[in-house]
C-alpha cells in the first residue's frame, strides 16, 4: 500500500508548552487513522499542522513525497483544496445558506457555479441534508451544522480528510447522527482519513490504525484490536479500562 502522508520529527511549541514533540507518522493511501489521547496531548495541533492551519516549528510533512512546508502561497492554497477539514466548532460562514456554505469554496477555486452547485447538492445528500440547501446554518441543530461542515469538506473530493474532533462540541444525542454519517462516509469512500476523536466505539469500528498520543508524542499505535487488547502505554490501558467499564 503506497504511502500518502509522511510526517517526520514534527514539533510545535506554544511558549514553554511543547504541543507536538517530534512526531513521526506515515499514513497510507485509503487508510483510516484514528488519533486518540487525553485533552491537550497535541492531537489537534498535529492535524492542523498537516494543512498548515498551524505552522509547525520544525519537522517535515510530505504528501505524495512532496514537502508541504515549503509550498508558496499559491501552492499551499491548491494543496488545501485537496484536503478536507472538518472542524470541531463547524466553522460555517454564518451569513451564507447551507448550499452556499458547501459550494462557495468550489466557486472560489474556479469551478463553474452550476457544477459546483451540483457537487454541493450531492455532498449534502450524502450527509442526509437534501432539502435543507436554503436554510441558514443558524437555524440548524449542532449535528446538522456539523454535517454541513462534513459536506463542505467532501464537496471538493479530497484525497485526504482531516477530522478534528467533529463530535466534541455536540451533545450526546446529536453525536450519534454525526458518527453514523462519518462511519458511512469513511467506509464507502476510499478517502484517506485522519480522525481525531475521543469516541472509542467509533474508533474500534472504523479505524485501520489507532494512534495514541500523550504529551505531544505518539506513545502507541496499532490496529484497534491490538491496541485495546494488549495496550503498552498508560493511555492505552486507560482506554481499555474505559471499554471494559
Amino acid at each position: 500500500m503506497r504511502q500518502l502522508l509522511q510526517i517526520r520529527g514534527l514539533r510545535k511549541q506554544y511558549g514553554k508548552h511543547m504541543a507536538v514533540d517530534g512526531v513521526d507518522l506515515n499514513v497510507n493511501r485509503g487508510e483510516i487513522v484514528v488519533i486518540m489521547g487525553p485533552s491537550g496531548c497535541g492531537k489537534s495541533t498535529m492535524i492542523r499542522c498537516i494543512n498548515r492551519l498551524t505552522e509547525p516549528d520544525a519537522g517535515e510533512i510530505l504528501l505524495d513525497g512532496k514537502s508541504i512546508l515549503n509550498l508558496d502561497d499559491q501552492a499551499l492554497r491548491e494543496f488545501r483544496r485537496t484536503v478536507g477539514f472538518v472542524f470541531q466548532q463547524f466553522n460555517l460562514i454564518a451569513r451564507l445558506s447551507v448550499l452556499d456554505n458547501v459550494m462557495f469554496h468550489l466557486v472560489m477555486a474556479g469551478i463553474p457555479r452550476v457544477q459546483a452547485e451540483a457537487r454541493a447538492r450531492n455532498a449534502l445528500a450524502r450527509v442526509g441534508l437534501a432539502g435543507s440547501e436554503h436554510k441558514n446554518p443558524g437555524s440548524l441543530s449542532g449535528g446538522e451544522q456539523q454535517r454541513v461542515g462534513i459536506a463542505r469538506a467532501l464537496a471538493s473530493n479530497p484525497q485526504l480528510m482531516l477530522w478534528d474532533e467533529p463530535t466534541a462540541s455536540l451533545d450526546p444525542i446529536l453525536i450519534g447522527e454525526v458518527l453514523d454519517v462519518m462511519e458511512e462516509l469513511v467506509q464507502t469512500t476510499n478517502t484517506t482519513s485522519i480522525i481525531v476523536t475521543h469516541e472509542v466505539g467509533f474508533a474500534l469500528k472504523v479505524a485501520d490504525r489507532i494512534i495514541l498520543m500523550d504529551k505531544g508524542k505518539i506513545v502507541e499505535e496499532g490496529s484497534p484490536k491490538a491496541i485495546f487488547a494488549d495496550p503498552k502505554s498508560e493511555v492505552g490501558r486507560k482506554y481499555r479500562r474505559l471499554i471494559a467499564s
Binding site: 492551519l53 516549528d57 502561497d73 494543496f79 488545501r80 466548532q89 466553522n91 462557495f104 471538493s156
Partner: protein, 715 residues
C-alpha cells in the same frame, strides 16, 4: 504583514484609502459649504445686497414704531428715494437698514450722520456699511485730516469720511478695492506715531519732555518731520475713566467705616478673608454656630504685623452711633462662625461727618439769631449810656446847687431856718447814695469819680461792637446754611454694605484694565523710526529706565464690513471643514479600516514567526494604522481646504497619527472579525483577498469598504 496584501489585496486597499480621502474631503467640504452658504444667505438677508444699504441703525425694541415713523419721515422729506428696511432683532435691540439715494451718498452726508439721525427715537448707535468701501481703523486724530485729504486723491475713490476713530474710503466701484487698499497702505506707511509711556505716578511736563524727545529724534533721524501730538484726544477718555475710578475707589474707602483689627496671636488672617462681628445683632457670635443675617461681615484689606484693616461688606454699625469695638471671628465658608481673631474697632466716618454737618448747621442758625439779639443789646446799652450821662450832668448841677445851699447854711449858721436844715440833710443822703463811696462829709460827696468814667471810650467800644455785629449780620449766613445743607443732602446715601459692593465693582473693572501713566506722542513723517533702537537713547536722555517706547500705526487698512464678514465666514468654513475632516476620517477609520486592521492582527497572531525585541513591544499593525490615519487625514484636510486656527499641518498629521493609533489599537472593539470563519476560509484554500471579499468584509460594519466590496463579492 505585507504578505497579507501580496495576492492583490493591496490594490483594493489603496482604492479604499483613495476613496476614503475623496469621500472625507467631499463630506467635509460639503458640510462646510452648506454652513458657509447658510450663513452667507443669512447675512445677505441681514444687510441686504451689495451697496443697497449704507447704515445699520441699532434701536431699542421698545421704540420701534416711533423709530420707523421717524426713519420714513427722513426718507421721504430729507432724502427722497432712501431705502428703509427692518432686519433681525438681537438682545432687545431692533436693527434697521438705511440706504441713502445715490445722489446723497456724499462726504457731506456721511460726515453729519449723527445730526441726521439724532431725532430717531430709541437710537442706540449705528454701524456704517456703505459699499464698496475700504475701512481704515484706529486713525490717529492728529493725522486724520491729512489722511482724509490724501485718500480723497486716490484714483477710484469717491470720497473719504471720518466715523469716530475710523475712516471710510468710499469707492467708485468694487473693482478699485484692491488698488485703493494698496495705496492707502502706502500712505499710512508714511506716518508713524511714537508713544513714550511713563510709569504710573510720574509727573511729566508733556510739552517740555516732548520737545526733548523730538530734539533727540531729530538728531538721530534728521530727515523726519516730527510733531508733538500728545494732546490729541486719542485714548484719553480711557485714561480719564480709569483715573476717575481710582479716585472714586479712594473716596469710597475714605467714606466707608474704618475697621481696625487688633489681631490675636496666631490669627493668620490674609487679605481678602472675611471676619464677623456682632454689630447690632441680638444674636451673639458663638464659634461653630451659623452666622445671622444681621451680623457684620468685614473683608480684610491689609494685614501688617498684629494689625489689620478691613472694610464692611455686609451689615451696619449705624445703630451703635457709628463707633463700636467688638470681638471679631473668622467667617467660615459654610456660613459658620469661626475662631476669634481679635478685637475689632469700627468707626463710621460717614456718621461723624453727618454729625459735624448737623452741628455746624445748628451753630450757624444760633449765630444768626445771636447777632440780631446782640445788636439790640448794644443799642440798648447805648441808650443807657446816654441816660447815664444826662443823669450825671444833672447830678453835677444838683451838686453845685447843694454846695451853694450848704454854703448858705454854714454862712447863715444859727440864722438858718429848720426847713433849710431838713433839705440839706436830704440832699446829702441822696448824693451819698448816688455817688457811693463819696466823702462822708455832708454836702461834699465826690462826683469826680463818676465824671472820670470814660463814657466816650465806652461809647466807642459799643460802636465797634455794633459795627462788628453789623458785619456779622452782613454775612449771608442763610446762604452758608443752604450750601452746607446741600452738601449734606448731596453726600452719597450709601451704607457700608453698598460701599463694599461698589469698591468690589470698581476693583473688578480696574483689574481688567491697565491704568496708563503719562505719555508723549510724536507724529513722525518720512520715517519710519526704529523704536527699539531709539528707546535706550530716550531712556538715557530722560534719565528714566522704566519708560517704554511704542510705535503705533496711523491707521490699519481693512476691507469693508461685508468683505470682512465674508472673510470671517471663509475662515469659519475652513475651520468647520477641518473639524469635520477629523471627525469623518475618524468615522471612516472606525467603520472601514478597523476591519482591515483587525484581520491583519488576526493573521499576525497566527503567523509562525517569533518576535523579538522591539517587534514584541510595537505591533506593526498599529504602526501601519497610524501611518494610514496620518496619510488619510492629511490628504482629506488639504483637499477640503480646511484650516483650523492655530493648528499647523504638522499638528494635523499628528492628529491623524493619533487617530490611527487609537483605531489600530482598539480595532477589534470597533470591528471584530470571526476567527472561525477566517480559519475555515484558509482550510478551504481561499486566498487572503477571497477571505476579505467573501468572509471578512461582508460581515463588517456598513461603510465604504462594504460598498466597494459589493462588486467583488460572489456570495
Amino acid at each position: 504583514m505585507l504578505r497579507f496584501f501580496r495576492d492583490g489585496l493591496y490594490r483594493d486597499y489603496l482604492i479604499l484609502i483613495l476613496v476614503t480621502i475623496i469621500a472625507g474631503a467631499a463630506v467635509s467640504s460639503g458640510i462646510a459649504w452648506a454652513v458657509d452658504s447658510y450663513f452667507g444667505d443669512t447675512i445677505q438677508d441681514m444687510i441686504g445686497d451689495n451697496g443697497e444699504y449704507d447704515l445699520i441703525l441699532h434701536i431699542r425694541e421698545t421704540s420701534e414704531e416711533a423709530t420707523l415713523r421717524e426713519l420714513e419721515r427722513i426718507a421721504q422729506q430729507q432724502y427722497p428715494g432712501a431705502a428703509v428696511a427692518k432686519t433681525i432683532s438681537l438682545a432687545g435691540q431692533a436693527n434697521y437698514l438705511f440706504g441713502f439715494p445715490q445722489e446723497a451718498k456724499t462726504a457731506a452726508t456721511f460726515s453729519r450722520l449723527p445730526s441726521i439721525f439724532n431725532a430717531v427715537p430709541g437710537l442706540s448707535s449705528y454701524t456704517v456699511i456703505v459699499e464698496p468701501s475700504v475701512l481704515i481703523r484706529g486713525v490717529h486724530p492728529s493725522v486724520s485730516d491729512t489722511l482724509q485729504q490724501r485718500f480723497n486723491q486716490i484714483d477710484g475713490v469717491k470720497f473719504a469720511f471720518k466715523d469716530g476713530k475710523n475712516m471710510l474710503i468710499v469707492l467708485e466701484s468694487a473693482d478699485h478695492s484692491k488698488t485703493v487698499m494698496n495705496e492707502a497702505r502706502q500712505i499710512l506707511k508714511e506716518y508713524q506715531v511714537l508713544e513714550v509711556r511713563f510709569p504710573m505716578g510720574i509727573d511729566v511736563d508733556v510739552q517740555a519732555t516732548g520737545d526733548t524727545v523730538m530734539q533727540l529724534l531729530k538728531q538721530e533721524y534728521p530727515k523726519t518731520e516730527l510733531v508733538n501730538v500728545s494732546s490729541a484726544e486719542y485714548g484719553e477718555e480711557l485714561d480719564a475713566l480709569m483715573k476717575t475710578l481710582v479716585e472714586m475707589r479712594h473716596f469710597l474707602l475714605s467714606y466707608a467705616s474704618k475697621v481696625k483689627i487688633q489681631l490675636r496671636a496666631g490669627s493668620n488672617l490674609v487679605v481678602g478673608e472675611q471676619i464677623l462681628v456682632q454689630g447690632s445683632s441680638s444674636q451673639a457670635l458663638v464659634p461653630g454656630e451659623a452666622a445671622a443675617p444681621d451680623h457684620v461681615v468685614i473683608e480684610i484689606l491689609e494685614v501688617t504685623g498684629d494689625q489689620a484693616q478691613g472694610m464692611i461688606v455686609s451689615g451696619s454699625v449705624a445703630a451703635q452711633g457709628g463707633a463700636v469695638t467688638q470681638p471679631g471671628y473668622k467667617y467660615a465658608s459654610d456660613n459658620k462662625v469661626g475662631q476669634p481673631v481679635g478685637q475689632v474697632q469700627i468707626e463710621n466716618e460717614r456718621y461723624r461727618l453727618n454729625y459735624a454737618i448737623e452741628e455746624s448747621l445748628r451753630l450757624l442758625t444760633e449765630l444768626d439769631e445771636l447777632s440780631v439779639e446782640a445788636a439790640v443789646a448794644v443799642e440798648r446799652a447805648d441808650q443807657v449810656l446816654t441816660t447815664f450821662q444826662e443823669a450825671l450832668m444833672q447830678l453835677e448841677v444838683l451838686q453845685v446847687q447843694m454846695q451853694q445851699l450848704n454854703k448858705g447854711l454854714v454862712e447863715n449858721g444859727v440864722q438858718s431856718t429848720g426847713e433849710q436844715l431838713i433839705v440839706s440833710l436830704f440832699l446829702n443822703g441822696l448824693l451819698k447814695n448816688i455817688a457811693k463811696g463819696g466823702t462822708e462829709t455832708p454836702g461834699e460827696f465826690d462826683l469826680d469819680q463818676l465824671e472820670n468814667l470814660d463814657i466816650a471810650s465806652m461809647r466807642s467800644s459799643l460802636s465797634n461792637i455794633a459795627e462788628q455785629i453789623g458785619s456779622i449780620q452782613g454775612i449771608d449766613v442763610q446762604a452758608i446754611i443752604d450750601q452746607i445743607t446741600d452738601i449734606r443732602d448731596s453726600l452719597p446715601e450709601l451704607d457700608d454694605e453698598e460701599i463694599g459692593k461698589s469698591v468690589h465693582l470698581v476693583d473688578n473693572y480696574i483689574a481688567g484694565q491697565v491704568i496708563p501713566g503719562e505719555r508723549i506722542q510724536i507724529l513722525v513723517e518720512h520715517g519710519p523710526i526704529d523704536e527699539e533702537a531709539v528707546e535706550p537713547l530716550i531712556r538715557s536722555r530722560l534719565k528714566n529706565q522704566y519708560l517704554n517706547l511704542y510705535s503705533i500705526a496711523a491707521g490699519t487698512v481693512n476691507p469693508d464690513t461685508r468683505t470682512e464678514v465674508f472673510r470671517i465666514l471663509k475662515e469659519v468654513r475652513a475651520t468647520i471643514a477641518g473639524i469635520v475632516s477629523i471627525a469623518v476620517v475618524g468615522i471612516f477609520l472606525m467603520l472601514d479600516h478597523a476591519t482591515v486592521f483587525s484581520t491583519l492582527k488576526w493573521f499576525r497572531a497566527n503567523q509562525k514567526q517569533r518576535r523579538r525585541g522591539f517587534a514584541r513591544l510595537l505591533n506593526p499593525v498599529v504602526l501601519f494604522s497610524a501611518v494610514v490615519g496620518m496619510v488619510i487625514l492629511a490628504a482629506t484636510y488639504v483637499l477640503s481646504n480646511a484650516a483650523i486656527p492655530y493648528i499647523s499641518a504638522m499638528t494635523v498629521a499628528a492628529i491623524g497619527l493619533g487617530l490611527g493609533i487609537v483605531i489600530g489599537t482598539f480595532s477589534e472593539k470597533f470591528s471584530p472579525v470571526r476567527a472561525d470563519e477566517i480559519m475555515a476560509g484558509l482550510a478551504l484554500g481561499l486566498s487572503n483577498t477571497q477571505i476579505m471579499h467573501e468572509i471578512v468584509i461582508p460581515d463588517s460594519r456598513p461603510g465604504l469598504l462594504n460598498l466597494l466590496n459589493r462588486t467583488k463579492q460572489k456570495f
